[in-house]
């Protein structure tokens, strides 16, 4: 039986009396890629930020390896966060640091490795995402696709167990979208990682996902293996896949 590495129980979150998450229940299987699919503004980013403790829920629990992270204090939460790597929608690279310094940042913060050893890891991680010789460039000198790849290299720097992707292919052209999708697939397979991605992109979803969950009006309306999801009889799912306005 596949182990559940993350368990979300009855998650609620409101902003200014507007309920964004209205009781989300979801389990993330270890070593698989789960995609949270949903339209713009349904609270996907709010949801993924809860998974890593960037936001506190109004109600509900999130268990990571059976530890409820919603009740942890900052220092304990930091320990749990070392299991995670996260690729942000706009990469969130530190614009005052070079690419090499960005990728090496978490290694420098959490290990006592020498500068040479860190540089070696940085080169390896950049090679894994298909980028070489750009260590001295600044993020402002990179294209959108390259920034995502550097962001992925940084997210993988500490060899995390879980990788989170916030809209990994939004705003990219089809070629760069495929490059990022392939990278996610290869990264997941190589390390047997648990990946959680949120997106509204159907192509990306069906390329990278083992399991798909759909968020609609603050709750999970459908969840299952990718093939099961495609064939779901749920009218909300079918409307979304067909690009028609939902109910």
């Amino acid at each position: 039986m596949t182990k559940q590495i993350i368990r979300v129980v009855d998650l609620h979150k409101s902003f200014n009396n507007l309920e964004v998450l209205c009781g989300i229940n979801l389990s993330i299987e270890k070593g698989k890629t789960t995609v949270i699919l949903g339209g713009s503004g349904v609270g996907k980013t709010v949801f993924i930020k809860h998974l890593i403790g960037l936001m506190k829920p109004d109600r509900g629990s999130i268990y990571v390896d059976d530890v409820d992270i919603t009740r942890l204090r900052e220092k304990k939460l930091a320990e749990i966060r070392k299991k995670f790597g996260m690729l942000f929608q706009e990469s969130a690279l530190f614009d005052s640091l070079t690419v090499g310094e960005n990728v090496g940042f978490p290694i420098k913060e959490h290990t006592k490795l020498s500068t040479e050893a860190i540089d070696k890891i940085v080169r390896e991680k950049l090679e894994q995402v298909g980028l070489q010789g750009i260590e001295d460039k600044y993020p402002s000198e990179l294209s959108g696709g390259m920034k995502r790849r550097v962001g992925l290299a940084r997210a993988m720097a500490l060899n995390p167990e879980i990788l989170l992707f916030d809209e990994p292919t939004t705003g990219l052209d089809p070629i760069r979208k495929n490059i990022i999708n392939d990278l996610i697939i290869n990264t997941q397979r190589r390390g047997g990682l648990t990946c959680v991605a949120i997106t509204h992109d159907i192509t990306t979803t069906f390329q990278i996902a083992h399991r798909v969950a759909m968020v609609h009006e603050g709750i999970i309306v459908e969840e299952g293996l990718t093939e099961e999801f495609k064939n779901s009889s749920n009218p909300i799912v079918q409307a979304f896949l067909a690009g028609k306005p939902g109910e």
Binding site: L54, A78, G85, A92, L93, E109
Partner: protein
């Protein structure tokens, strides 16, 4: 009409209380992370350079012209009753007790406080602060503690620079341009200005450095809404810090002197 005014008043009060609460929480967290290892020496020195060294030129210019104008302005009044000899003491006291700390604080607010708010605000809206947290690095410890420490340590030093240069500027105008006797000018300055005057002025610098960096960091750290939000946060940081400095100066003067 009345209910609308009351509603708006309620909103303003709620917003004020919320902001005060957030600043208090940020203050407590900053103090707590200040004494939690690792001490990020390199970050602290980088911020000290930004707040101190890079503000030095503007502080020197401000100080020298402030001292000169106090001398020039006071001379007219003193001359009317033959009290020109008191000019040195007047300039020195004004610079050490009031103008030095306040002018320094306002200049640091304009140069370094606005930079703090804009930098942190940009990091917030581009998710760089969230990225720090996901890498298990506490953003308050990494970003805010070095800035607040830099404010606390550098503003008093800049206050001393500003006051000293201002006194020199006053001397230049009084002796060089207005023809006062340099011996009498200096003797009066040394006789009437006490060490406590300087110490109290410097202690104002500690307070102003702390309040400017805390308000600027708060505004930037909690910025929302893209480029417009960063602009708003920067403006508010400068306005609120300047007002806090002026109000704080009155309160401190009434308690200290």
């Amino acid at each position: 009409m009345v209910s609308r005014i009351l509603f708006r008043l309620g909103e303003i009060c709620t917003h004020f209380v919320k902001e005060m609460g957030e600043i208090a929480m940020l203050l407590l967290n900053t103090i707590s992370w200040m004494f939690t290892p690792p001490l990020r020496i390199r970050n602290i020195f980088r911020q000290m350079e930004s707040v101190g060294i890079k503000s030095a030129l503007v502080i020197i210019l401000t100080g020298i012209f402030a001292g000169m104008v106090v001398a020039l302005g006071s001379y007219t009044g003193f001359k009317r009753f033959g009290g020109e000899s008191l000019l040195g003491m007047t300039v020195a006291l004004a610079m050490a007790r009031e103008l030095g700390p306040v002018m320094t604080a306002l200049m640091v607010t304009a140069r370094a406080g606005s930079a703090m708010a804009a930098e942190l605000g940009t990091m917030r809206v581009t998710e760089q602060i969230d990225a720090l947290a996901t890498m298990a690095v506490n953003p308050i410890q990494y970003l805010i503690v070095p800035r607040v420490l830099a404010g606390i340590f550098m503003v008093p030093i800049l206050t001393i620079v500003c006051a000293s240069i201002g006194i020199l500027g006053g001397y230049f105008v009084s002796v060089g341009l207005l023809g006062l006797n340099p011996g009498i000018y200096m003797a009066n300055t040394v006789e009437y200005v006490e060490f406590l005057d300087i110490a109290k002025g410097v202690s104002k610098g500690f307070f102003f450095g702390f309040i400017i960096s805390l308000i600027s960091c708060y505004k930037g750290f909690y910025a929302r809404g893209g480029a417009e939000g960063v602009g708003k946060a920067t403006t508010e940081a400068v306005v609120f810090s300047s007002v806090a400095v002026l109000i704080g100066n009155y309160i401190l003067t009434s308690f200290l002197f």
